[in-house]
Each structure stands twice: as C-alpha cells, then as structure tokens.
C-alpha cells in the first residue's frame, strides 16, 4: 500500500456569516488550501472529492457535495457527500486517504462545510438533536449538550472531578483561539469567567460548550509523487484509525469513555508505529469540555481519571509536553459540524510546516481526533513531517 500525503490545507474564517452560503464558504476554504501549496497545482488535477456535512438547516439535503464542486468549477469531478454528524469530514478525509493509498487516485479533495447560524432558535435546536439516538435519547428530552452533560455527571461522580477541571479546557482553548484570526470566538477567558457562566445543561455551562458556527475547510490529499513535485515539506498521513460505536450513550459499556475513540486511537497509533508519548501536539474533539477530558484518557495521553491533572499541570498548554488544540479547538475556533474534521487537519498541516498561529517547537508527529455525535463514529489520524530525502 502506498502512502498518502497532505499537500495543502485551508479553511474559511469560522464564525457567524449571514452573508455567506455553504458554497461561498467552501470557495474560501478551497482557495486557502490551494494557496497553501508550495508549488501551485492545477485544480484540474483533482481526481475525486469527498465532502462532509451534516446539512444543518436542511437547505440542499440531497447532492450538496456535487453542488459544491460544480460551484467551484471542479466540473465533472466525482464527488461524494459524507454524513457522520460531527465526524463527517474526519471520515471524508479518511475516504480521500484510502482512495490515494489504493492507487485509484493521485489527487483527492477532502473537506467539509456547515452553515448553522442562519435559522430560528427553535429550528436550530431541532437540528442540534438529530444526531443523538432518536427513539430513546432524543425523546428523553436531550440535545447534544444534555448527553455530554450526562457523561460529565458520571465522570465527576466517578473521579471526584470538579467544575474547574472542565473550565480549564475553556481557558486553555480560548487562550489559543485568541491568537487565531480565523477563530469564531477569538477571545481569552479567565477561570473565574469560565466557571461562573450560566448553565446550559447542568453541570455544563456556556463556557463548557462550543458555539454553533458557519465555516468550511479543505485538504488536498495526494500521492508521494505529487507531494514531492509540489511541496518543500512532506506531511505524511502516518496513521489512520476509525471506529463506530452505539449511537446512544445509554447503549454503551461506559459512560466515562468513548469506546470508539479508544479503538480508533489504538488503530492509528499501531498503523503509525508510534506511542502517544511520541506525539508533539494534538487536535482533539472538544465540542464540550468533558469531551476533551475523555479524549486525553481515551487516546492514552494519561490514565483514567488523570485528565484534570494534565490540565492543572499545563501538560496540554502550548508550552507543555503535549500541546492540545493550539488552533483554539472547537470551543474557541468554532464547530461548523461538517467542517470540523478537516479543520483539525488544517491545524496539523500548519503545525508540521511551522506556520501555525500558536506554533509548537519543531514538531514531528501530530494527531487529530474527530468524534461524531456523542461517540457513534470516530476518526483518528496521525501526521508526520518527513525530510525531503526521507522515504515513506
């Protein structure tokens, strides 16, 4: 099996943009991805596209993928729309990697888009509940905030964790996002602010929840030959893992772990041939503060119940041993559902090329972790910076 490389990656600004559409936002992301390539590549070289979106708001429910590529002028390019809730573009990226590795295509476009802020509040709440398990979880009166809050309640009960342990996620990620001009909520917050915010779904408050966001992201996944032809710095997809889990939290073996994250992480580490301790940075799925804590433990950054300590000790701060969510994460950068997975890849790409807004010192390995729903589908990818003379 041959290797896949990230040749370019870019995103639109994330935020609330009443004047934009999913088409125009993806235009911005695509342009940014093309501009990030060292030696320009002709769009006509794109063989196939995989685009993720949940389709919040309805709008173009059918065939939105082809609508995007045709709007871009990628005329006739086979395009598949991928739907796996918040992991839609994590999975779109996985499809692109698989396509390149298979030898079927040399240049694949992976990406995602979502417009979430243009609907009435009632309509938005309807959409925020569509990826929970519908027959039982939804009809117990929960949207996503409620389900993650249930995980937080179980976690806090099991490990005697405190509200501040959740709030430190917000403080750290806002600190990073404040330096990212494309972040949705690019401001800093104090621990006091983050712990005193109004309740959304107890024990989660406003600062423990990511925003609803408009945005798009795009990544060019290419073969080694194409990568060497167009790039000065090779970013290899070193490891790929993915796993499904029961869609309803109540159907899973654990309420304080996302089992699909554990499985996807193990597969990614094994295929990359590295350990969690080899990582130089990570972008993890922090849709709610508790999700970042669970990610630390599910992905082997620490033992069970130790995530709060990692945050307290600054291990995942930009100057710590394992800087996490240097982009601001979903919390500060924003969470345009379908755009989030490839949005994380954008940050990994920038870090490994030394172009990040919050730059880690000369990283070699980075990880992205994208969760659909409350854990029904997860992708984990590991990226490696190669020297130009290095081999795959």
């Amino acid at each position: 099996m041959r290797d896949a490389y990230v040749l370019g990656a870019g995103q639109s600004s994330f935020g609330s943009f009443p004047e934009e559409t999913y088409l125009s936002l993806f235009d911005d992301a695509f342009d940014a991805a093309m501009d990030s390539v060292d030696t320009a590549i002709d769009p006509e070289q794109i063989d196939e596209a995989f685009l993720g979106t949940l389709g919040v708001g309805g709008r173009q429910i059918g065939l939105s993928g082809p609508a995007v590529t045709e709007h871009l002028g990628l005329h006739g390019v086979p395009t598949t729309r991928v739907e796996n809730a918040c992991a839609a573009s994590g999975y779109a990226f996985r499809q692109a990697v698989t396509a390149v590795r298979s030898g079927l295509v040399d240049v694949a476009l992976a990406g995602g888009y979502e417009v979430m802020t243009d609907a009435s509040s009632d309509h938005t709440r309807w959409w925020l509940g569509v990826s929970g398990e519908t027959e039982w979880e939804r009809t117990s009166g929960t949207t996503f905030a409620g389900v993650y809050a249930q995980m937080a309640s179980a976690y806090m009960d099991e490990y005697d964790a405190e509200i501040d342990d959740l709030s430190r996620v917000a403080v750290k990620n806002h600190g990073n996002g404040a330096q990212n001009p494309k972040a949705h909520l690019g401001f800093e917050c104090s621990l006091e602010d983050a712990s005193a915010a109004p309740s959304v779904a107890d024990p989660l408050n406003l600062y423990h929840c990511c925003p609803t966001t408009d945005g798009a992201s795009a990544v060019l996944v290419v073969s080694e030959d194409v990568a060497r032809e167009h790039s000065d710095t090779l970013v290899r997809v070193a490891g790929a893992g993915a796993s499904s889990g029961r869609v309803g939290l109540f159907q899973r073996e654990s309420l304080t772990s996302i089992p699909a994250s554990v499985r996807a992480g193990e597969d990614a580490y094994e295929s990359a041939g590295i350990e969690p301790s080899d990582l130089d940075f990570a972008e993890v799925h922090d849709c709610f503060a508790i999700a970042e804590l669970l990610a630390y433990e599910d992905l082997g950054f620490c033992d069970r119940g130790e995530a709060g300590r990692l945050l307290r000790e600054g291990v995942t701060d930009p100057d710590g041993d394992l800087p996490t969510n240097t982009s601001g994460g979903l919390k500060s950068k924003g969470h345009p559902i379908g755009a989030t997975g490839t949005g994380q890849v954008v940050e990994a790409f920038k870090q490994l090329r030394g172009e990040a807004y919050v730059q880690v010192d000369d990283p070699k390995y980075g990880l992205t972790h994208n969760v659909g729903g409350s854990g029904g589908g997860v992708t984990v990818h590991i990226f490696e910076k190669e020297g130009m003379e290095g081999s795959a």
Binding site: D122, H123, E135, T139, T142, V147, S199, Q251
Partner: protein, 473 residues
Amino acid sequence: MRGLIAGGVYIPRFRLSSDELETAWGTSHAAGVDQKAVPAADEDTLTMAVAATERALESTSVDRAAIDTVAAATTTPPLEEGDFVSRLVRMLDLPANVASTTATHHTAAGAEALSRALDADGTALVIAADCPEGDLADSDHPFGAGAAAFVIGDDPAVAIDDVAWHSNETPGIRFRERGQRDTESLGITTYERDAIREAVTSAATSLPVDLETATAAAVHQPNASLPYRITGDLPLSPDAVSAGTIVDQIGDAGAATVPIGLLSALDEADDDDLTVGAFFGGGSATAVACDGSLSVPGVERIDDTEPISYSTYLRERGYVVDGDVSGGGANVSLPNWQQSLDQRYRLVAGSCPECGGVTFPPKGACQECHARVEFDEVDASRTGTIRAMTVIGQGGAPPEFAQLQQQDGAYTAAIVAFETEGGSVTLPAQLTDVDPEAMAVGDTVRATIRRIYTQEGVTRYGVKFTPINDGER
C-alpha cells in the same frame, strides 16, 4: 355477592390553596375548598388512572392477566375522540381481550363504570380519573384532580349490596359545549340545588339499607358545602357526610371525586360499617351501599403535598402556554413508537439466548456479544439507579419539549440502570415529580408512566422516573 376486592387512589402532589386563589382573583368561588390538587404538566387523566390502578393492583393478589372487564370514567379524556381505555389496557398490561368501556359526559360517570363492573362476570377494574377545567375567573376555582381505582370481583372485602338510580332532565347545572375546554354552570342556585337534592334523595332512599346506620357517605361534592345541603332530606348524619367528603383537600375532581371520597371513607371504616356513595351528574343520580372496610393504598399520601403559587398553577395546567411544536419535532414515527410500547410502558428487555446478556431496547444485535439473535423477553425491575444526569434549562430542550419546559420548568434527563435476571440495562429518561437540584448520580428511582411529548395532535406516553421517598417500598 360482588364488591370491592381492592382499591387505589392517586392524587397529584401539587396543591393550590384557596388563599393563593383568592390573592390572585380577590375572591374564591370554591366554598369550603381549602386547597385543590393540580396535575403536573406531564399528567392527565390517563396517567393518573394508571397510577391509581397500579396502587390498587399492588395491594392484591389479583393477576392482571385474569381481568375480564375494565370500565373507565372521566369527563376529561385527553382526547375528545380517540384512544382512551385501549391505552389503559396497554399501560396496565391488561389482556387484549378484556371487555372495555369508557363512561364520560357527566360527573356520575364513575357510577356507570362501577355498575358495569358489578354486572359483569369475573374480575373487573373500575377506574375514575378526572381533572376538569373552567373559566379561570370563576368556574375553574374549585376544580382539582385525582383518580380512584376499584378491583371488583366475587367474595369481596367490601360487598356492594345494591345500586339505585334516578334520572331527570335538569339542564344548565354542569355542562361543556362541544369543542370547548371550560366546564360551565349557569349558577341558578336554588334550581340547581333542588334538582340535585331531589335526584340524590330519590336514589339513596331506594337503597335497601337503613341510611341512619351509615357511618360514611361520599356524596356529589363540587364544593365542600353542597354535600350537606343536598342530603338535607336524608337521614345521614353530618359526621357521615364529612367522612366521605374529600373535595376540601383535593378540589372538585369531576367524575373521580365521589369514588375517591368513597375509597378514603372505606379506608377509615370498620368491618361492619355501612358506607354510602351518592353520585350526581347530567341529570342522573346513582346511589350505592357498601358493607365493610378496605385498606386503600394512596389514601395515606393525600396529605403528601407540595404547595404551588397561582402562576405555577397556570403554567402547570397549560392555561398560559402555547402547545405548538415550533422548529420540528423528533423524527419518531407513530408506527415505530407503537412498536416500542412494551419497552416504554413496561421496560421489557431482551435476553440473549447465546451469551445471556441483556439488551434494551431488545432490537438489533445483542449489546453484549453483538450476535444477531431472537431475544427472550425479560421484565426489568421497576426501580433503578441513576448513572448519569443533567438538568435541561430554558432554551436547552429540543422543540418538542419546549412546552413541557415552559409549563414545568427545567427538567432532569437521566440515564437509569435497571436490574434484570440477566444483568443490568440502562435507558435514558426524564425524572419527574422532583426538584432537579435534589437528585444525584447513585439515587434510586421508580418507573411511572407520563406524557412524553405531543406532536401532530398525538401525545406520546412513556416511562419517566420519580424519586423513591422514605418509607416507600
């Protein structure tokens, strides 16, 4: 001889005092009513009927599969036309071939249902549940809520000697126009009182018993003074009337008031006591004579109450809330919901014949071994433990729960674990009848049936959980 084998009473926990009512309106049109019971936003006559019947059935060895007849009585079924008693049959797990009837249309409906059960063969259930509504400024004042259930059979604890009837056209006393929410009265005081007294006197004196010996009489009681006035021509003592009067504590619960009064009197009675019931409604009076006593679960909890303000009353009863679902509801089709009723009402789980693991709901692959199997049905315990919970505040609810939240405030959504023969299963459900702040992971809760949400005019009912109070089983 037929009569009562068992009984059960359910009164919602909220109480609105007449003082609160008077503060709100400057007057109270609820003579002698100290406080009235108020159903919570997720309660109605169906859920109250189920709660009372479960209490009655728990107090007896009668097997619900052996019940031959079910007769329900209410003036306020949740739907003017549609499923009522058939829902009770599923919620109570009664046999599908049970003979059923719904008496409605007037406050003596409970007598009609009781009479049907007495006339039937075998074991019968009589369930009266009601929560009338009226003009807030006036007729609503005394209206309360509650439910009573009777298990009727041969060889009873309380023999019902006879039923006597009197019928006459007396319009304008209490009526509700087609399509209207408010129960009205024209308030022609003397005419009304005379008509009721004449009918009740005629029915009661037709009973083959010496009324003077009655120790209790549950008499038509739209307020707390009328029972004394309409029995003025009968040799019933004021003490007897008082023993059967419950309206002062729960308000006028329509067709359920006399049945609740009757059960509460029988709960206090001695074995050789005579208790009389006298119903009136729609121009008809019915009198029954009951010999004996009965311990009735639920009566002891009538005083177990939570006072509410008038504004809370308006919200809980839905007087000030728009019920439309805005923004789209949950995509669970009615056929799918209907297929899951055994789970939603009775927590029926599936046991895997290969690994013995338990799966809830029992659909798809086994949650333990992931094999595709035909599950064996197992009933989960009705009590469980909270494993995770959250409180959904204003604005955090999916649209189909926005109305509940406007009426009842923030609600708790929990994941509850239940034990079965094959191990524990978990399901997500709301807690109800509880202060969200008072609950925590690890607390034990009990299953009950409540309204879940209403969409396209159809209310979905299903399991919710209530805290287990001290002293309860």
